[in-house]
């Protein structure tokens, strides 16, 4: 009796989770691939078209632009998040007062919804009424900056706000990483008269490598999927210059009702995420050997 109970009990406990994962994750993931091989408007019969949806993506100007935009956005945003969060972490791991308060303040933006972050900055950066342009025009004598209607500025704005909203999260992880480095390395370096930067490049950075990798992987996977913040900030504009892949998938599927084509884009997004993650792990392994 007891033995039977011991055998069945674990499966019963796992059942609710497994049902949910199967229905709302594993099955849709397989089904998504299947849909990507069809033409489907979401209502009527699906018609099988093989890999047509994929070959058509190459000539889909909107998709290509969204893809390139996403890559550019990610290529700039991820390093800037890393640099900012590392700088914050380095400052807060010095022996200073109020470091707990500062840490909470820098972490705070990650607690706010992406929609509100986007709206808040849109309000601050308003081109004719925003406080930032007022300060620039009145005190620095500049022309009003077209934060959201100039194509290059819009990209900059989106990158800046994304960095602002995420840096605190990775800062916390990097602080934990820096704190786990043994003090003795720094004491020895101190005795040898190593400067702050020497200590940073020869002790902190190499020993922080595992945590840095984790931060880079997690932030890449997050940044590639950016959508709500940008929707609230620029809406993808001007003229689609900040419309990235998730928004493109959503619009293709739900506004233009091309579910097959949207699913093919989603498969591409999945492959991109997988490749980026794999590359970062590989790069780090190579780098790790250099350091030792």
């Amino acid at each position: 009796m007891k033995r039977l109970e011991m055998k069945i009990f674990p499966y019963l406990m796992l059942l609710p989770m497994m049902i949910i994962f199967t229905m709302f994750l594993f099955w849709p993931a397989l089904n998504g691939f299947w849909i990507s091989l069809h033409n489907w408007d979401g209502l009527n019969e699906m018609t099988f078209v093989g890999i047509d949806n994929y070959t058509r993506l190459i000539n889909d100007r909107n998709f290509v632009r969204a893809f390139q935009g996403t890559m550019l956005f990610t290529a700039i945003t991820v390093p800037s998040i890393y640099v900012v969060s590392l700088a914050l972490a380095l400052m807060l791991t010095r022996k200073i007062r109020l470091s707990g308060l500062f840490r909470a303040i820098f972490y705070w933006p990650t607690m706010i919804s992406s929609i509100i972050v986007g709206l808040s900055w849109r309000f601050l950066l308003g081109e004719s009424f925003g406080l930032v342009n007022y300060v620039l025009v009145t005190f620095l004598g500049m022309e009003p900056v077209r934060w959201m209607t100039n194509t290059n500025m819009a990209m900059f704005t989106v990158i800046f706000v994304t960095t602002w909203s995420l840096a605190g999260y990775y800062m916390v992880m990097l602080i934990a990483g820096i704190k786990s480095i043994s003090e003795t390395y720094y004491e020895a370096a101190e005795i040898d008269g190593a400067s702050f930067w020497q200590q940073f490049f020869h002790i902190t950075l190499p020993l922080l490598r595992p945590m840095s990798l984790l931060v880079l992987v997690l932030s890449t996977v997050t940044v590639v999927r950016s959508f709500p913040l940008i929707l609230a900030l620029t809406g993808g504009g001007p003229a689609g210059h900040t419309r990235f892949m998730v928004q493109q998938i959503h619009e293709t599927g739900f506004s233009r009702l091309q579910m097959g084509s949207a699913s093919a884009m989603a498969v591409v997004l999945f492959v991109v995420l997988a490749i980026l993650t794999a590359v970062q792990f590989r790069l780090n392994r190579g780098g790790g050997q250099d350091a030792t």
Partner: protein, 283 residues
């Protein structure tokens, strides 16, 4: 000679320290100000919102934006929908993930490793990748345009399962053995002995789930269609049409919707940041 050298170092250290504090303070303002500005501006009457030069502090503070948002925008409904889905989803999330994490930590059974690998594999497939097929499942299961459609599909979370599993691994098996000798059933052991022990990790799950649900946009966007089922985030996004933004209502609604988050953050700040470290590093 040595004394003056010592003094040089002191002066240098003081200067560096001052620069450090100044940069930290400037950054702190940069991180706090945008939200502060939204909150201050939400008390300005419509005419004052876009005056040039902008007024820093409201000249004629008013609650019009708040009463306006409540009256016109059905804000009470949005608040109620968000609260309902957040609370119910958080409760279900805790139950389901604690159950799973517990058996992964404390039992040996066939396919255990495969099942656990499957749980971790779900991290590879974010919602953004399966938006289209998930919509199909939502419709097929009758969850479309229902608050349950936001709640149920996302209650199982690999990170939570992992956190719970790690927590239970650190708890000795003796508690269970003692109860088993007393003749307790396996479920009784879980409910009466092991569940109460897990309070700290349950608290972490509650915070993570609450924050995520309160702020989530993507799930509600996919599932909800009727305005009277909108969550706050959906309503905020829908009010911000590309060219004509109703800033008065938006600022007021944003400010109200941030209150629960601010309260939770101020009270539980240490635990939240601690949760990031354990969740991020291990999950």
């Amino acid at each position: 000679m040595q004394l003056s050298q010592q003094k040089d170092i002191d002066v240098k250290a003081i200067i560096l320290r001052t620069i450090l504090y100044i940069s930290l303070s400037v950054l702190a303002i940069g991180f706090l100000f945008p939200i502060f500005w939204v909150m201050v501006s939400s008390f300005k009457p419509a005419g004052e919102l876009f005056t040039w030069p902008p007024t820093f502090w409201p000249q004629n503070p008013t609650l019009d934006n708040y009463t306006g948002a409540l009256a016109r925008g059905n804000f009470g409904w949005y608040f109620r929908n968000t609260t309902f889905s957040t609370v119910v989803a958080t409760a279900l999330t805790v139950i389901i993930n604690v159950m799973s994490g517990y058996v992964f930590a404390k039992y040996k059974f066939r396919f255990q490793n495969i099942l656990f690998a499957m749980v971790l594999a779900t991290l590879m497939v974010p919602l953004e990748v399966i938006m289209i097929p998930i919509f199909r499942v939502i419709v097929a299961t009758g969850l479309f345009n229902s608050l349950w459609g936001i709640i149920i599909p996302a209650v199982a979370s690999p990170t939570s399962v992992f956190l719970v599993r790690q927590y239970y691994k650190s708890i000795p098996d003796e508690f269970m053995e003692a109860a088993r000798i007393d003749g307790a059933s396996e479920f009784g052991i879980f409910l009466r002995v092991m569940l109460p022990i897990a309070k700290p990790v349950i608290a972490v799950l509650c915070i993570i789930s609450f924050m995520w649900r309160w702020n989530d946009f993507l799930w509600p966007m996919l599932v909800i269609q009727s305005r009277n089922l909108f969550t706050i985030q959906l309503a905020l996004a829908s009010y911000s049409g590309e060219f004509n933004v109703d800033w008065n209502s938006l600022l007021a609604m944003s400010s109200i919707s941030m209150i629960p988050v601010i309260v939770v953050f101020i009270i539980l700040q240490k635990h939240i940041i601690g949760g990031v470290i354990s969740g991020g590093v291990k999950g």
